[in-house]
Amino acid sequence: MAGIGFAQLIDLLVGGLAIGCVYSLVALGFAMIMRATSIIHFAQGEVMMLGCMCGLTSLWLLPTLPLPLVLAVGMVSSGLIAVGMELAVYRTLRRRRVPIMNVITATVGMSILCINASRIIWGSEPLRFPELFATDAYVFAGVRISPQLFWIMVMGLAIMAALQLFLKHTRTGIAMQAVAQDPETAQLMGANLTRMMAYTFAISGMMAGAAGVMLGSMFFAFFEMGFITGVKGFIAATLGGLGSIAGAMLGGILFGLIETFSTVFLSSAYKDGIGMILLIAILLVLPSGLVGLWQKRS
């Protein structure tokens, strides 16, 4: 590890945390949908991508739009798109009680539709976001941090905190948790299953949309961006423990750090490979993720 200066270490740390927040948000979406429906939503990455595209479009239309509003646009559009998917397709499949393999295949089909729709609408060239952040580095206690990464971390953590508050302290949030754990009992207690399911998709969509705008502003927006980030979000959720909200958040941050720090040892060409190996390793060795490991200990 010779040659890693302190400044570079901070850069890696901040970069890892920032991308980790993005992964966490995508992972949250996977976790919530998994808890509620037991399916892996293959199109989750595409929901993220579409949120990013919508956010970018809003910036084209209103170039002076402040960042929080861009984020809001991304989140709202993704939320609506996700709900649309649920109402148009997934609900029908669930009602028909089709084998789970068919539902998964349908989400793959949805993913293909979204990617190609995006390519037709926004083209196949990568699109840059306009400058949303200050360019001068912030200085904290002698440490220089990029404003973009800083704010992405802050926003990401804020959104996740808001989600936790929502799930634990609002009636709808608690009802959603109940439905995820035991749909029949929750229904007997008065929860409207269809609406709760729609909320689940809406919220996971919103998480994905936020992640999309953040990711887009960090790098660029393009029609296939949802694919590999979606897979990585899934890896993060699995690392934390699929189906666990806390696990998704933890897994995302952890995975972001692992991936960023691994570029020190590996060529960047194989950066994505780290995630794949980690994925297979987790699935084989620790399928219930870190949360599962924690639970076994206690």
């Binding site: 399916i39 789970i100 349908a106 949805m110 293909i112 190996i277």
Partner: protein
């Protein structure tokens, strides 16, 4: 899964006979095609369809047979393609040997996946996806081996018994021949211990385990077999288009293969061939689709999941049954029989 399985031992005997007759007719038709339509491009497309159908049939064994969703078959397709290309260009290995070796190397690579066969459902799917991405990264980055993004050029034409298959017609016979062989092999496992075991695992893995079936071993065997045929197809592909690029073996290729199986009808072996024909052939016929190709396929995929699981195979089977009953009714009502009845 698909109710209307076309060529299975569970279909009534009369239906099985019809399917067998249709199969022979189709085979005969395939043999005759180059004499009717010798256009090189048409034969080239048909060869590509045959090659695609081989990979699709392998996935059909995995998905429609043992119920394992793999979205990483392109990895074995790619491994087979590059193996065959390397053996023939760098080591001067004769084509037939390279073809077999391609399958074997792909099968050996799939042994790496054996631990993954413990997984089920979406977890297995994602694991195959991860593996496929790894292989893609290897193909793209190891330029010394594969030529990376610059591509692998100069792959020779297939050579059989000393003859270079220069003519599109001979290449066509090669591809169709191998495809027919794979089809016949897979069709044979119906009604045998192995075929039953595979289907049992798909329908209820717990009950299969409780009956003493070595589920993981059987699932692994399916994986290896599917990888082997994908490797064979890869070799044929390499020597047909004679140029390889990493972009031919991405995740999207794996998805295309899945689409072939789903459109054709999960659970149906001829369906895999129909699906391959649609996915490879349709864009050629409808040039205007071009860019919208994947959009159309994504839509068809969703529609199939929502409306008609049995896919094209079920559609054809239903049409066939309807046609037969129509035929019978018409035969009873024909004027000659009425005249005879009148006498």
């Amino acid at each position: 899964m698909a109710e209307a399985v076309v060529s299975s031992s569970y279909a009534p005997a009369a239906e099985r006979r019809t399917v067998r007759r249709v199969t022979w007719v189709m085979l005969a038709a395939l043999v005759v095609v180059p004499w009717i339509e010798p256009d090189k491009f048409v034969l080239h497309v048909l060869s590509l369809i045959a090659i695609a159908s081989i990979v699709a049939m392998g996935l059909q064994l995995l998905l429609g047979g043992s119920g394992q969703l793999s979205i990483g078959q392109a990895a074995f397709y790619g491994i087979g393609a590059y193996t065959s290309a390397l053996l023939t260009t760098q080591l001067g290995v004769p084509f037939p040997l390279a073809l077999i070796a391609a399958g074997v190397v792909a099968a050996i690579a799939s042994l790496l996946m054996v631990p993954i066969t413990r997984l089920t459902g979406a977890y297995l799917a994602v694991a195959t996806l991860g593996f496929s991405i790894l292989v893609y990264l290897l193909i793209k980055n190891e330029e010394w081996l594969t030529g990376g993004s610059y591509g692998f050029i100069g792959i020779p034409r297939p050579v059989l018994f000393g003859y270079v298959l220069r003519d599109a017609m001979y290449a066509y016979y090669l591809c169709v021949g191998v495809a027919a062989l794979v089809y016949l092999v897979f069709a044979r496992i119906d009604g045998t211990r192995f075929g039953r075991a595979i289907n049992a695992i798909r329908q209820d893995a717990d009950a299969a385990t409780a009956s003493g079936l070595p589920v993981t071993l059987l699932k692994s065997q399916c994986f290896v077999i599917a990888a082997f045929v994908a490797g064979l197809a890869g070799s044929l592909y390499a020597h047909e288009v004679r140029y390889l690029a990493p972009n031919d073996f991405t995740f999207w290729k794996s998805i295309e293969i899945l689409i072939m199986v789903v459109i054709g009808g999960v659970g149906s072996l001829p369906g895999a061939i129909l699906g391959a024909a649609v996915v490879v052939g349709l864009p050629e016929i409808l040039r205007e689709i071009g860019d919208y190709r994947m959009l159309v396929f994504g839509g068809i995929l969703m529609a199939t999941m929502l409306f008609g699981e049995g896919g094209l195979a079920a559609l054809f089977a239903a049409l066939g049954r309807y046609g037969c009953s129509l035929w019978k009714r018409l035969a009873l009502r024909s004027p000659t029989s009425a005249r005879d009845a009148g006498r």
